[in-house]
């Protein structure tokens, strides 16, 4: 399987190096996250076999495959929900073991799950800062600074369809909820954002909103891993594509320039 693996080619390296303001200096060097020989068993069931995958910073990697191919399992081994049975994870050149999701969060891996993990009854600001609230000197919540932070992140990500960031998340559309979940990840200084089926339940304009957001993340130098079974969306936004079939990585590599709609910068 290793023969299918390709590391960052000169083409991608050049484009990544000319990415806009805010891209980290990790771009152009070794990939941010490398999977080597990852395997996962559930008893006699082999969910994943011998996965070698590189996730470079500043680029959008798409993980595609039919249902049951092992996409979600791969994500869960990567974010500390399950430990891989074999193989190793190499983060920024160092081997790491994630025992809990918090370990993964601590190094800068943020996952936006399909269910978004948002509390419907809380508003956008409260959701974005859940678990990371800012306290004022009196020990009470510093609502003003939290709201300013949330507003700034949303503006940075050009999420402008939400007029009132104090409205309950339950009243937002699917695309807006995705945007809030992604903004939450960005706020925590994530270096790698993993999105599990971000456009699965969205309409046309909402899908466009989310894909826009994904591109903007990559421009900021964040590595994005998108799991999707929607090839149209994948071709619109991905720089690299990895195909999973029955737990094995069938092919991985940069998207051919002719099918890639996203133009290079500069």
């Amino acid at each position: 399987m290793t023969s299918w693996t390709r590391t960052v080619t000169g083409d991608d390296g050049a484009r990544a190096a000319t990415a806009g303001v805010g891209s980290s200096d990790a771009v152009g060097q070794a990939p941010l996250l490398q999977l080597r020989g990852i395997g996962k068993n559930f008893g006699p069931v082999r969910a994943l076999t011998d996965i070698d995958l590189d996730i470079p910073a500043g680029q959008v990697t798409a993980l595609v495959g039919d249902n049951g191919a092992g996409k979600s399992t791969l994500i869960k081994t990567r974010t500390g929900i399950w430990e891989p049975s074999q193989g190793q994870l190499i983060w920024q050149g160092r081997t790491v073991h994630f025992r809990t999701p918090r370990d993964a969060n601590a190094v800068g891996i943020a996952t936006v799950y399909q269910d978004l993990a948002l509390s419907d009854n809380l508003d956008i600001v409260q959701n974005m800062l859940l678990g990371h609230e800012v306290l004022s000197r009196t020990g009470l919540l510093d609502e003003i600074s939290m709201e300013k932070t949330a507003k700034r992140i949303l503006q940075d990500l050009r999420v402008t369809t939400v007029r009132n960031i104090r409205q309950p998340v339950g009243s937002l559309s699917g695309g807006q909820r995705q945007a809030v979940a992604v903004a939450k990840a960005v706020m925590l200084d994530a270096r790698l954002v993993i999105m599990d089926e971000p456009t699965a339940a969205l309409g046309v304009s909402q899908t466009a909103l989310v894909l826009d957001l994904i591109e903007r993340l990559a421009t900021r130098g964040i590595a994005v891993l998108v799991i999707s079974h929607n090839l149209t969306d994948v071709f619109r936004v991905a720089d690299r594509i990895a195909v999973l079939y029955l737990g094995r990585l069938v092919t991985v590599g940069p998207l051919p320039t002719s099918t890639r709609r996203r133009q290079s910068t500069g």
Binding site: D115, S119, N121, L122, Q126, G131, E133, Q167, S171, Q263
Partner: protein
Amino acid sequence: MASVNPKGSTTTAAPAEEPEVITTPTGSAELLAGSVGEYVRIQGRRIRSGESGALPVVIGLVAIVIFFQAKNSLFLSAGNLVNLMAQSSFIITLGMAEIFVLLLGDIDLAAGFTAACGAVGALWMMALNDPWWAAVLVALAGTALYGAMQGIIVARLRLPSFVVTLAGQLFLSGLLIYLIDQTGSIGVGGVIQLHNNIINNIAGGWLSPTATWIVLLIIVGLAGLAMFYSDYRRRRAGLVAPPLSITLLKIAAVIVAGVVVVLVANTNRGRLITVEGMPWVVLVVLAILFVWTVLLGRTRFGRYIYAIGGNAEAARRAGINIVRTRTLAFMLCGLTAGMTGIIYASYLGSISSNVNGGQNVLKAVAAAVIGGTSLFGADYGSGAGAHRRGSRTSR
């Protein structure tokens, strides 16, 4: 509207996009409105689309008042109204206790008897001539501990709170009889009397009319300042804030409500002697309400309670310690139930083994639910802002 930038380029000067007009009825009308007129229009639209907030409760209350006043013209008399305030005080406090666990999606069916048992403990100590504050502290510590115990069983062992607290209710109803029995000659005939003037005065005593006006001035003054200042800070920070006219209207409404209540309380309601002034119990309940509202609405812990109630999985992934938060919530429920017990003992002058803890709990839960708390955990659909939930039970 989101627009896909056709060039896909990352120019830093993105074209300014039109803000989308919110057509859904949700979203705080205060923050969306730019003026009083717009505020009224937004509220009207919300009510028409079914998001009526507290309006049905208010209309129901008005209907009840009209009905009973028609039946007995003494209903709206000062004496009766003040009596109602004192009578409902302990249900309101018990409702506040229940809110902590209702927000989590749990329930505490034992709270009524927790209150009674705590009160028996306090009354016993006071009958033995211990200082009243020691008796109250011991009672509150005991009920809080019991609440924490229920919380540990629910949160750690993951048993349903309905079952655990129902068992608690049965256990405590027996414990109540046992405790009163154990007091020997103090608790004769299944009733233990209250022998302390200070505690007795909570429900039985009242402030002088002058003191009542002063207290009103202080409360309304502070509330008005707080509202004005918080909106002012928001405007200064460049955030969306309610227009000044709305803020002033809210302050005016608080002043009017306060003045009305004080006028009612200061009217002579005694028959043989002059009885004028606000009963202490109203202030006690208001104080508890204020502290718990701040705790639920303005602290991290309170925020986590709402988060767990809304989506426990999201809270877990955000790193919130679910077990600890739930246990603490049950402990606070027990603590507030203890306070209820003291207020109840003050109102009745005694605690008997006939206390209907089960029925009291149902009334308390009803008070919380009518006030806007959902029985199914924190639920945004009721239309109230998170920080207003705690204050709803006073209806």
